[in-house]
């Protein structure tokens, strides 16, 4: 396909040289915005301009178990709890297929996550396929809900993460995923991961040059397949920590690269995504709060449209439900921040102060009652705002304990998805058929 559009292909080296003309052609057709719709079909996202949405970090191998304090491999039951929890987190606009259940055949572990997400939570899903074949079932699950290819294109339900491999490589799986998504107008987020100083130049500018090339190559594959197919100009770059041989997502330089490529993406006329609001800490400690908050703040101020990361710890390898509850508050505060400061019946000011002098306080002033909920974001009880005596009276709980109380409460209060039963049954039939292909006679039992 690339050759047909004028790219120079060196087959023996597996090289494709994409020319400026091809890139310009792709940039002409790439949409500058697109919308996302939930399982029911209601619009939830408008990826345009500087609109900001949060989505959990995706595809962790482990979850942090509250009871043991240790990491472990997740199961179906964990995933169901996760999806129910996300349905109750107001500031996290979409689900992601956040971790990989290990109680199913690994060949369906990608599609099975999507199936569980569609069953338990109405929010749209940021996901990804691990193989070329998995695309089919993941597409079919979506077609089951939207009815037709056209219906799905009109109301996209998922975003597939497609990751080039640094430096400048596309695997069979990810490039085919981009092609398949484009054919069905399923939005793709390109997640290029250059590692400064290791698999990319050490300078942030050098890393950005590489990130731009990798991401634009994805845009080209997508747009040449189906001009106008929706994409997010995304990424998950990081600096390389030369002391620990790790890829710190909470490093300020990592977050600077994210904010910078966001500007490049917007300059090129695309909505953006970034793996920026997450932490490398191993538990819910101060580091986990500071890294996620710094990332969320920078990302929101930069106007990254789809901010990935909530719930994620340990270099994108571990999801924590307790961290998700905490991060939901970070997202809530950040979303409040970007609403900014606006005058609301504040001028002329004199009457307000006359009222204050007369009434001695403004607690029940009409102005207060009208604007209190707009002006203040009041976080849930995971954020401690009690005075010390009240905090002690209420058990002197740590952040982790409060977050866990939040998890339990929200999962308990979860209301079942409004997706009609016949649709749920159709999804289950599709998933069971796929499981049988890999020798599983049934899917794991799920407690509803």
């Amino acid at each position: 396909m690339l050759q047909e559009h004028g790219a120079k292909v060196e087959r023996e080296k597996y090289h494709v040289i994409i020319t400026n003309e091809i890139i310009d052609e792709a940039l002409k057709t790439v949409p500058e915005s697109f919308k996302l719709f939930d399982v029911i079909g209601n619009q939830t996202h408008d990826f345009s301009e500087h609109n900001v949405y949060f989505t959990p970090g995706s595809a962790a191998l482990n979850i942090l178990d509250y009871n043991s304090g240790e990491i472990r491999k997740p199961t179906t039951a964990d995933y169901a709890r996760y999806a129910k929890l996300v349905s109750r987190l107001d500031h996290i606009a979409s689900q992601s297929t956040a971790f990989i259940p290990t109680d199913v055949h690994e060949k369906i572990s990608d599609s099975y996550r999507l199936y569980l997400s569609l069953l338990f939570c109405e929010k749209p899903v940021v996901t990804g396929a691990f193989t070329i074949e998995a695309f089919d079932i993941m597409r079919d699950l979506q077609l089951a809900l939207r009815g037709t290819k056209e219906g799905l294109a009109a109301k996209p339900l998922t975003i597939l993460s497609c990751c080039p491999t640094s430096p400048l490589k596309w695997s069979d799986v990810t490039s085919q995923n981009v092609v398949d998504c484009a054919e069905y107008s399923i939005p793709v987020e390109f997640v290029s991961m250059p590692l400064s100083g290791f698999m990319a130049p050490v300078t942030l500018v050098g890393t950005l040059v590489q990130h731009t090339a990798e991401t634009l190559s994805g845009v080209v594959i997508s747009q040449l397949t189906n001009p106008g197919a929706p994409v997010l100009y995304g990424g998950s770059p990081a600096i390389f920590d030369v002391r620990y041989e790790t890829t710190p997502m909470g490093a300020v330089e990592t977050q600077m690269i994210d904010c910078a490529y966001n500007e490049i993406g917007k300059h090129l006329g695309m909505p953006t995504q970034g793996y920026i609001s997450l932490s490398d800490a191993k538990q819910l400690d101060a580091q986990s709060g500071l890294e996620s908050s710094m990332g969320a703040t920078l990302a929101a101020l930069s106007g990254i449209n789809n901010i990935s990361g909530p719930g994620m710890l340990d270099f994108e390898s571990c999801q924590s439900l307790e961290k998700l509850v905490l991060d939901n508050e970070i997202c809530g505060m950040t979303l409040r921040m970007i609403k900014g400061i606006e005058p609301k019946e504040d001028f002329p000011s004199l009457p307000r102060f006359e009222e204050l002098l007369k009434e001695k306080h403004l607690l029940i002033s009409r102005h207060t009652m009208r604007y209190l909920s707009e002006e203040f974001y009041l976080p849930g009880s995971v954020i401690d705002r009690a005075n010390r005596a009240r905090w002690q009276e209420e058990g002197g709980k740590t952040l982790l304990e409060r977050a866990h109380t939040g998890v339990e409460k929200l999962v308990r209060e979860c209301v079942p998805s409004r997706l009609p039963d016949d649709k749920k049954n159709e999804l289950t039939k599709l998933m069971e058929r796929e499981a049988r292909r890999y020798g599983m006679s049934s899917l794991p039992h799920i407690d509803s």
Binding site: K360, H361, L363, I364, T368, M369, L372, L378, S381, N387, R388, A389, R390, E393
Partner: protein, 215 residues
């Protein structure tokens, strides 16, 4: 809906005009004033107190409900001319001598009134003698003292000591509060209770009065 229930519900909504009107109607229907007060007004305020503590509602809603409560009690007051307006108890409050900060104390006053207490607010910069004299004269059960400044905190002790000297320590109980105050400090100066916020202060005052009544 039962009129007392409706008074309680409207009070919880902070609808002072409707509470005033409903209280009038209840009086006309010969509902005993004491029942209107206890079941309608104070009953509604108790629910508000619980919901506030559980973070279901916020301070402004509590104050609006308290305002609605006053609208109702104003209607009832003339009916209690002989025996006086029934109250759970009488509390004398003020900011300690040397302290001009009264936001916290005012809030406690509003919440105490909302909970059905009669509150005598002496304002700020109140000397120990004035607290004790007023409480004695008014037959108050509790003195509540507030301080914001660490420099004025020690003066709180003088009020407790004065009660002791006059042999009133067990009859008139003391509660203290304010940003620099702690449970430990209250114990240290011999105060009977410490309130860490206005709701907690109301609960503590209730406990003090119940304890005194059962003595």
């Amino acid at each position: 809906m039962d009129i007392l229930k409706e008074i309680s519900v409207r009070l919880q909504q902070g609808d002072d005009e409707r509470v005033c009107e409903l209280t009038r109607q209840a009086v006309e229907k010969k509902v005993p004033p004491r029942a209107i007060l206890d079941e309608g007004l104070i009953g509604g305020m108790n629910i508000i107190g619980e919901r506030y503590k559980a973070h279901e509602i916020f301070l402004p809603q509590v104050l609006l409900a308290a305002k609605a409560m006053y609208a109702g009690t104003d209607v009832l007051r003339p009916l209690f001319v002989k025996e006086g307006m029934p109250a759970i108890g009488k509390v004398v409050i003020g900011s300690v001598q040397g302290d001009l900060h009264d936001i916290g104390k005012n809030l406690v006053g509003i919440m105490l009134k909302g909970a059905g207490f009669e509150v005598i607010d002496l304002g700020n910069d109140v000397p120990p003698e004035r607290f004790v004299e007023t409480a004695e004269k008014e037959d108050a059960a509790v003195i509540g003292i507030s301080a914001l400044l660490t420099t004025t905190m020690p003066v709180m002790k003088r009020t407790v000591d004065l009660l002791e000297e006059k042999g009133l320590r067990t009859k008139i109980r003391t509660i203290i509060g304010g940003a620099p105050i702690s449970e430990e400090f209250a114990k240290q100066i011999g105060a009977d209770a410490y309130g860490y916020d206005s709701t907690n202060a109301v609960e503590s005052v209730k406990r003090l009065i119940m304890a005194n009544e059962s003595d």
